[in-house]
């Protein structure tokens, strides 16, 4: 990574984290409930966007910056696992499995759809 790419990754990394926080907070305000719908929406939208970029055969420094810096930071694995674990602790086994299964399968579907779109466009 040269200095320009490094700086761009850093800047988009910060932007991705902020976008995740704002989108999640806006959704959580509307859909107050035990199911972490904000994280799910963030992760699905990020997976679709990454699929689009990969489908459009983006590569090299641009991919590192946008996908690695921006989308990598926007989507999150740790919060997904944390919220799942806390659902389990609260005795909400159904919601726990729903959160794990839905994110995984719908995430793969979103990425595949994005990939197809990116290849077509």
């Amino acid at each position: 990574m040269n200095a320009a790419v490094w700086i761009a990754v850093a800047m988009l990394g910060g932007v991705g984290a902020l976008a995740r926080f704002l989108f999640d907070a806006a959704l959580a305000e509307r859909a107050a409930g035990p199911f972490p719908v904000g994280t799910l929406a963030v992760n699905l939208s990020g997976a679709a966007a990454l699929g689009l970029l990969a489908g459009a055969a983006l590569h090299g420094a641009t991919l590192t910056i946008v996908a690695g810096g921006g989308l990598g930071s926007y989507t999150t694995f740790s919060t997904w696992m944390f919220e799942s674990q806390r659902l389990g602790e609260a005795g909400r086994a159904t919601l726990l499995w729903l959160n794990v299964g839905l994110s995984l399968l719908a995430g793969l579907a979103a990425l595949t759809l994005g990939h197809w779109l990116g290849a077509v466009l």
């Binding site: 984290a17 926080f21 806006a26 992760n43 990598g72 930071s73 919060t79 674990q85």
Partner: protein, 134 residues
Amino acid sequence: MRLPRLDRRELAAIYAGGVLGALARVELAELAPHGAASWPWATFAANMAGALLLGYFVTRLQERLPPSSYRRPLLGTGLCGALTTFAAVQLELFEMFDSGQLGLAVGYAAATLAGGFVCVHVATAAVRRTRLVR
């Protein structure tokens, strides 16, 4: 969509954490590149480390430390959120399926989910074993 009330210090903390997390993850990915037929060690390591750290930070901040307005945004939402990634896992799984590596894909998905869950659980339990310090 109505946005929540925004605290500038909180946003700055999230941004700073996001910068650090993204740089660490991208550097790791450069150190350990992988193809569709191999285990994505960089993503896996970043995700496990982030899940462990998030379990530790949030449990400690919620249950052991006095309230703080910027630690969770910096360390949790920013650093751990950006260090770990969901989209890259999905792209890796897609590429594994696409190249016929079904066993690898299923194993990677299972190990990622089980590993992430165990990391949060272990970090949470470790924090709770320590005595309350106020």
